[in-house]
C-alpha cells in the first residue's frame, strides 16, 4: 500500500510534468507551422511587371547578382492549389513544409519527389508517382512540393511565378533595375506577420510549463512526506532493537532513490502516452503517419526524459531531505506517533512566509521592472498563495464552527479543521492545479479572443487584392465597382513620428471600420471626428513608445499636426502606425496612388468576384487573399490549443485528486481514535463516512474558492506584466465565469472521487476495530 502510493504519486507527478512538456512542445510546433503557413507574406516578393512568368535564367541571373531570392510556382492541379518551393534557397521558416523539422530532404528533392498536404487534400489528387505525405499544417486545399515537380505537374517547365526575397541580403548586390528591369519588388503584404503574437503565446506556454513543474514538486513532496509518516513507528522499533541511525537513514535514502528512478521512468512513459493519447498530432507521429517527421519528435525526447527524471529525483531529494532530517532528530522512544497532527504548529510560520511572499509579489507588480521581476513575481505569487492556504482554511473553518449550533455540526467543523494540517500538502497541490487551470484557460481564451478580434478588425474585408501597377488598379476598381459591395483603397506612406519610424494610413470613411475596429481608448464619436479630418488614430506601439495620450498632437505630413483621437491594439506590428482620413492622406501625399484594396462582398459571392477579377483584371491568384480561409485556418489552430488546455485541466486535477486520496488513506488509520468516541456516542459508520465525503467536498470547494483569485492573478501577471515586459504591449484579459464554474465542478468531482474509497472503507470498518480504540493497546 505504502509502496503503491509512493510509486504512483511520484509517477503521476512525473507524468504530469512530462505530459505537459510534450503537449507544450507540440503546441509550439503547430503554432510555428501555422504561423509559417500564414506568413509567406512576411517576405517581400518579386514578380514580373506584366504579371507573366519569370524565366529560370532571370532567377539565376538575380542569384548571381547577389539577390537572396527563392523561386515559387503556383497553379491549380485537379482543383487543388499546388505550390512549388525550392527548399535550399527558401528563407528559414517559410512554408509549413517542415523541411526544417526533420523531413527527408533527399526524398523531397530526388526520385519521384514528395507532395505535402492535408489528408483530405491528398485524397483528391490522383497518383503522380510522387510520395504523398500527410501534413496537417498545410493550409486547406493546398499542396506543397518541390518546384521541379510542380513545374512538371503543371506543365510549365522552366517557369517561375514569383521570387521570395529573404529578409537578410548580402552586402553587395546589383540593383533590380540593372539585372532584371522587367521585374518589380513589392513589400510584404499587410497582416501576415503573426510572429510576435506567437512569440508571446510561446512565452506564456513556457510559464505554464514551469507552473506544472511546481504542482508536480508539491505532489512529490506530499507523497514522500506521507510515506515517511507511515514509517515512523517502524523506524522507532528498529532503532529500539539497536539498528544504527546512520545506516537506517542511508538505507532509506538509497531505497528512495531507486524508487524515484523507477517511478520517474514509469511517469515519463505515462506522460508520453497521455500526451500521445490527447494530442492527435503526436499520435499521428507515433503511427508513423509523418514518416520522416519522427526524427524531429525524437530529438525532443531526451529533454523530456531527463527533465521528467530530474523532477522525480529532485522532488524526492527535497522531500526526503526534510523527512530524513526530522527522522534523524526523532527521540528514540517518542517517535511512535505519526506527526501529521503536530504540523499545525508550523502554520504560524507558514502564514508569515505566505504574507511575505504575497507582499513581495504585490510590490513587484507595482514597482517591478523587467522580465525577471515578472517571473519572480509569478513564483512569489504561486508559492505565497499555496502557503497561505492552510492558515486561511483553518480560519474559515473556525468561523464555521463558531456559527454552527448542532453538536454534530460543531464536531464536523472542528474535526475538519484538525485534519487540515494532514491534508494541507494535497490541498495545496489542488490549489495550484486549479489556479494553473484558471490561469491557462483565461490566458488561452483571452489570447484567442484578442487574436480573432484582431483578425476581424484587420482583415474585415472579404477579399484583399494587390495590383501590379496603376493600370491594373483601375481594372480592379472597374470590376469591383460592378461586382463588389464596397472598395476600400489601402493607402500608406512611411513617416517619422516623434523620431520613430511609422506608417501613415489613409482610411476611407466606411462602415467596415466603424463596425469592426475596437479601441483601447478613444474620444466620444471618434469616427465622426476622424471623418471631419480633425484628428488621427494611433496604434498601441506608437502610443506607448512615443508616450502619446488622447488629445496630444501628432505631426502628419508636411506642416500639419493633429490630435490623437483614439488608440487601437495592433498585435502583429513591430512599428508605429497612424491613421487619417482618405481625403487628408491624398492631400498630404498626392503622389501615392492605391495599389491595394479591400473588397467588401457577400461571402457567398467572393468566389465569383475572384473569377471576374482573374478574368477581367488579369489578377493572379497570388494577388488575392481570401480572408475567410485565413481566419478558418487560424481558428483551427486555436481549436488544437484548446485540446491542450483540456488536457492540462484533466491531468492536473487527476494528480491533485490522487494526492487527496493518498492523504485521506494515510489519515484514515490515524483518525480511528478520534472517530471511535463519536461512533460510540451513536453516529453510525455510514453517517460518519457520509460526513467524511462531505468534508472532502467542502475542503475542495473552499480551496477552489481560493484558487480562483490566485489563478486570475496569475493570468493577469502573465498577460499584463510579463507580456508587456517582453513585447511592449498588453494582451487584454477577459473573464470566462462558465469555464471557471465547470472547472470548480470538476475539482469537486475529483475530490469526491478521491474521498469515495476511504469513506467506503470507513463505513465498513469492523466495530471491533473501533472498539479496540478504547482498550489501551494501540
Amino acid at each position: 500500500m505504502q509502496l503503491m502510493t509512493l510509486l504512483a504519486g511520484l509517477a503521476l507527478a512525473t507524468a504530469l510534468w512530462s505530459g505537459v512538456q510534450a503537449i507544450n512542445a507540440e503546441a509550439r510546433a503547430s503554432y510555428d507551422a501555422a504561423a509559417a503557413t500564414l506568413s509567406e507574406g512576411q517576405f517581400a516578393q518579386i514578380t514580373a511587371r506584366d504579371g507573366g512568368a519569370i524565366p529560370h535564367a532571370t532567377y539565376v541571373a538575380l542569384r548571381r547578382a547577389g539577390w537572396a531570392v527563392s523561386p515559387v510556382i503556383e497553379g491549380r492541379l485537379e482543383g487543388v492549389r499546388l505550390i512549388g518551393l525550392e527548399p535550399l534557397t527558401a528563407p528559414g521558416g517559410l512554408g509549413p513544409v517542415r523541411l526544417d523539422e526533420g523531413a527527408d530532404l533527399g526524398a523531397f528533392l530526388s526520385g519521384e519527389g514528395q507532395i505535402l498536404a492535408r489528408t483530405e487534400t491528398l485524397a483528391r489528387l490522383s497518383d503522380t508517382g510522387a510520395q504523398k505525405v500527410p501534413s496537417p499544417d498545410v493550409a486547406p486545399n493546398t499542396a506543397l512540393t518541390d518546384i521541379g515537380l510542380a513545374q512538371r505537374l503543371l506543365g510549365r517547365a522552366g517557369e517561375i511565378d514569383r521570387l521570395i526575397v529573404a529578409n537578410v541580403q548580402p552586402l553587395t548586390r546589383a540593383s533590380l533595375a540593372q539585372v532584371a528591369p522587367e521585374l518589380v519588388e513589392s513589400p510584404p503584404p499587410e497582416g501576415g506577420d503573426v510572429a510576435r503574437l506567437t512569440d508571446s503565446f510561446h512565452l506564456n506556454l513556457t510559464a505554464f510549463g514551469l507552473l506544472s513543474f511546481a504542482v508536480g514538486l508539491f505532489i512529490v513532496h506530499g507523497a514522500i512526506g506521507l510515506a515517511f509518516e507511515q514509517r515512523r513507528p517502524m523506524v522507532r522499533t528498529l532503532r529500539a532493537l539497536g539498528a544504527p541511525l546512520r545506516r537506517l537513514i542511508a538505507l532509506m535514502a538509497v531505497e528512495l532513490a531507486v524508487l524515484a528512478l523507477i517511478a520517474g521512468l514509469i511517469g515519463v512513459g505515462l506522460g508520453y502516452v497521455i500526451a500521445a493519447a490527447l494530442l492527435p498530432d503526436v499520435a499521428a507521429t507515433l503511427r508513423g503517419l509523418y514518416g520522416a517527421d519522427v526524427a524531429g519528435q525524437l530529438s525532443l525526447r531526451p529533454a523530456w526524459w531527463l527533465s521528467g527524471l530530474a523532477i522525480a529525483m529532485g522532488g524526492t531529494a527535497v522531500a526526503a531531505g526534510g523527512a530524513l532530517w526530522s527522522l534523524a532528530r526523532m527521540p528514540l522512544l517518542s517517535g511512535a506517533h505519526p506527526r501529521a497532527w503536530a504540523m499545525g504548529r508550523q502554520s504560524r510560520g507558514q502564514a508569515v512566509a505566505a504574507l511575505a511572499l504575497l507582499g513581495l509579489a504585490g510590490t513587484l507588480a507595482v514597482w517591478g521592472q523587467g522580465l525577471m521581476a515578472g517571473f519572480t513575481m509569478l513564483g512569489a505569487l504561486l508559492i505565497g498563495g499555496a502557503l497561505a492556504l492552510p492558515p486561511l482554511l483553518t480560519q474559515v473553518l473556525r468561523w464555521a464552527e463558531r456559527l454552527s449550533q448542532a453538536p454534530v455540526a460543531q464536531w464536523f467543523w472542528a474535526d475538519t479543521r484538525q485534519q487540515v494540517p494532514g491534508l494541507s500538502l494535497a490541498l495545496m497541490a489542488l490549489l495550484l492545479a486549479m489556479a494553473a487551470n484558471v490561469g491557462v484557460s483565461t490566458m488561452v481564451s483571452s489570447f484567442r479572443l484578442t487574436f480573432t478580434g484582431f483578425l476581424d478588425q484587420r482583415l474585415a474585408s472579404e477579399l484583399y487584392v494587390t495590383a501590379a501597377d496603376t493600370a491594373q488598379a483601375e481594372a480592379i476598381i472597374a470590376v469591383a465597382a460592378r461586382d463588389a459591395d464596397a472598395i476600400l483603397p489601402l493607402l500608406s506612406a512611411e513617416v517619422t513620428v516623434a523620431g520613430l519610424p511609422a506608417q501613415i494610413y489613409g482610411a476611407r470613411d466606411h462602415a467596415t471600420y466603424r463596425e469592426n475596429w475596437q479601441f483601447l481608448q478613444a474620444v466620444p464619436a471618434v469616427w465622426d471626428v476622424l471623418a471631419r479630418g480633425e484628428g488621427v488614430l494611433v496604434n498601441e506601439q506608437l502610443y506607448r513608445r512615443a508616450g502619446l495620450d488622447l488629445g496630444m498632437m501628432v505631426p502628419v505630413g508636411a506642416g500639419l499636426t493633429l490630435p490623437v483621437l483614439g488608440v487601437y491594439g495592433d498585435y502583429g506590428n513591430p512599428i508605429g502606425q497612424v491613421i487619417v482620413t482618405e481625403d487628408l492622406f491624398r492631400s498630404q501625399f498626392p503622389q501615392i496612388t492605391a495599389l491595394r484594396f479591400g473588397l467588401r462582398s457577400d461571402p457567398a459571392r467572393v468566389e465569383s468576384l475572384r473569377v471576374s477579377l482573374r478574368n477581367e483584371a488579369d489578377l493572379p491568384d497570388t494577388a488575392m487573399v481570401d480572408q475567410a480561409a485565413l481566419k478558418a485556418m487560424s481558428l483551427a489552430v486555436f481549436e488544437r490549443t484548446f485540446t491542450v488546455t483540456t488536457a492540462l485541466n484533466v491531468l492536473t486535477l487527476a494528480v491533485a485528486g490522487f494526492a487527496i486520496l493518498m492523504s485521506l488513506l494515510t489519515l484514515a488509520a490515524m483518525r480511528l481514535p478520534q472517530l471511535a468516541p463519536v461512533w460510540a456516542l451513536g453516529l453510525t459508520r455510514r453517517r460518519l463516512a457520509g460526513l467524511d465525503l462531505v468534508r472532502a467536498i467542502v475542503l475542495a470547494a473552499l480551496t477552489g474558492a481560493l484558487a480562483l483569485p490566485l489563478g486570475l492573478a496569475l493570468a493577469w501577471a502573465l498577460l499584463a506584466v510579463v507580456n508587456v515586459e517582453a513585447f511592449g504591449w498588453r494582451l487584454p484579459m477577459y473573464l470566462f465565469p462558465l469555464d471557471y464554474l465547470r472547472l470548480g465542478a470538476l475539482a469537486l468531482v475529483a475530490a469526491a472521487l478521491a474521498a469515495l474509497w476511504p469513506a467506503w472503507r470507513l463505513s465498513h470498518t469492523p466495530p471491533a476495530q473501533l472498539l479496540g480504540v478504547f482498550r489501551h493497546e494501540r
Partner: protein
C-alpha cells in the same frame, strides 16, 4: 543542434561524416570509389566529378592590411550528390553549398549559400576555370590566375590570386588514405598563390596582400565509421617550405602529412609521422575547442606551437565547425590555417 542543421548534415555528408553521424559511412552504393594509381589529369580534374559523392574547392588565405593587421579568409564550394549522375534542370541530384568567411583578430564573419545543380545557380567548369555559387565565384583564364569573390550580410571580399609554384599532390600521387581501413580520397593542392585585393568589412574597405592555399578533394566515403572528426593544418613557414598535416580522430587517431619544399617538391608521410596535441582550449558557441596546438613532424625537425589568431573563428553554418588563421612559433615561424570538425553537438 537544430533540426535544419541535422537535415543539412545528412544531406551534405562531407562534413557530416566528420561529425560522426551514424550510417553515412556505410552507404557508398553506386558511387565511384577512389583507387590508387589513377593519374590526376589537368585541367579536367579541376572540374567536378559527379560520379563521386562529395567534393570540394577549399581556399584559405593569410593576409595583412596596410597597418600590418593580420587577416584570414576562407572560400569553399562543396558539392554533394544524392545519386552518382549529373543532369540538367531541377532533377539533377547534385547539390552545392558555399561557405565564406573573413577572420580578423577581433571578429569573424561567416556566410553560407545553398544551391541546386542543373540550373546554373552553382557549378564548376574546368577550362577556363570557374567555380561559383550565386554571386560568389573563383574564376579565371586558367587555374594559375584567379579572381575570388564572396559576400555576406556584413562583409565581402574581392581578391586576385596568382600561382607562383606548381600544383602538388598528397598521399600516393593524389591518392590520400584517410583511415587504417583504407578509406581514401583524391587530394591535390595549389599552396603557392600570391593574393592581393580588398576586404569589405563594417568599418570600410581594407586593401590586403598575402598568400592563399587551395585544396581540391573528392571522394565517396572519406572517413571510417568510428572517426568522429578531424584537425587539419596547412602551415606556411618563413623558409618558404610548407606542410599539410591532419589528424582523423577515431578509436585510434589516424594522421598523415605532406612536406612541400619551397620549390614544390613533396614528401608524403604515413600514419604516425605527424603528431598534433591540443595545448589550450577555448569555449566558442557553447563547446570547447582546442585553439593552441603543439604540432610535430620529427622527420623534418618540425616542433611548433600553432596558435589561433582569433579563437572565436566558429563557422556557424548548417554544419558548424571551426576554421581560422593561425600563427606558428617554435622550431619554425610562419602562418597557416586550421580546420577542426566534430567538436561538440
Amino acid at each position: 543542434m537544430n533540426a535544419r542543421t541535422f537535415i543539412l548534415a545528412v544531406l551534405l555528408p562531407m562534413q557530416a561524416m566528420a561529425q560522426g553521424f551514424a550510417g553515412l559511412g556505410a552507404a557508398v552504393e553506386d558511387f565511384a570509389v577512389p583507387v590508387p594509381g589513377r593519374v590526376l589529369e589537368f585541367p579536367v580534374d579541376h572540374g567536378a566529378h559527379p560520379a563521386y559523392r562529395i567534393e570540394w574547392w577549399y581556399l584559405t588565405a593569410n593576409m595583412t592590411g596596410p597597418d600590418g593587421t593580420p587577416y584570414g579568409l576562407q572560400w569553399t564550394l562543396f558539392r554533394s550528390a544524392l545519386a552518382p549522375r549529373d543532369g540538367q534542370g531541377w532533377e539533377t541530384p547534385q547539390l552545392w553549398m558555399g561557405h565564406a568567411a573573413v577572420t580578423t583578430p577581433e571578429a569573424h564573419f561567416v556566410a553560407e549559400r545553398l544551391a541546386r545543380g542543373g540550373i546554373g545557380q552553382a557549378g564548376v567548369e574546368a577550362d577556363p576555370f570557374s567555380a561559383w555559387i550565386d554571386d560568389w565565384a573563383m574564376e579565371g583564364p586558367d587555374f594559375d590566375n584567379l579572381r575570388l569573390r564572396a559576400s555576406g550580410a556584413d562583409f565581402a571580399y574581392d581578391v586576385a590570386l596568382r600561382a607562383t609554384g606548381p600544383l602538388i599532390t598528397h598521399g600516393q600521387n593524389g591518392y590520400s588514405v584517410k583511415s587504417a581501413a583504407g578509406q581514401a580520397s583524391y587530394y591535390y593542392s595549389q599552396p603557392f598563390f600570391d593574393l592581393a585585393g580588398t576586404l569589405t568589412l563594417p568599418g570600410g574597405d581594407i586593401p590586403v596582400t598575402g598568400q592563399a592555399w587551395l585544396d581540391r578533394e573528392w571522394s565517396s566515403q572519406p572517413l571510417a565509421a568510428d572517426q568522429s572528426g578531424w584537425d587539419w593544418f596547412s602551415l606556411s613557414f618563413e623558409t618558404g617550405d610548407k606542410m599539410m598535416g591532419f589528424v582523423l580522430r577515431g578509436s585510434t587517431d589516424y594522421t598523415a602529412a605532406t612536406w612541400i619544399s619551397a620549390d614544390g617538391q613533396t614528401t608524403a608521410f604515413p600514419d604516425g609521422a605527424f603528431v598534433a596535441a591540443p595545448q589550450e582550449w577555448h569555449e566558442v558557441a557553447g563547446r570547447e575547442v582546442p585553439v593552441i596546438w603543439r604540432a610535430r613532424l620529427p622527420a623534418r625537425g618540425v616542433d611548433v606551437t600553432v596558435t589561433a589568431l582569433n579563437p572565436g573563428a566558429w563557422m556557424q553554418t548548417s554544419v558548424p565547425y571551426w576554421e581560422g588563421p593561425v600563427t606558428i612559433s617554435g622550431s619554425h615561424e610562419g602562418v597557416g590555417y586550421l580546420e577542426m570538425t566534430g567538436y561538440g553537438d
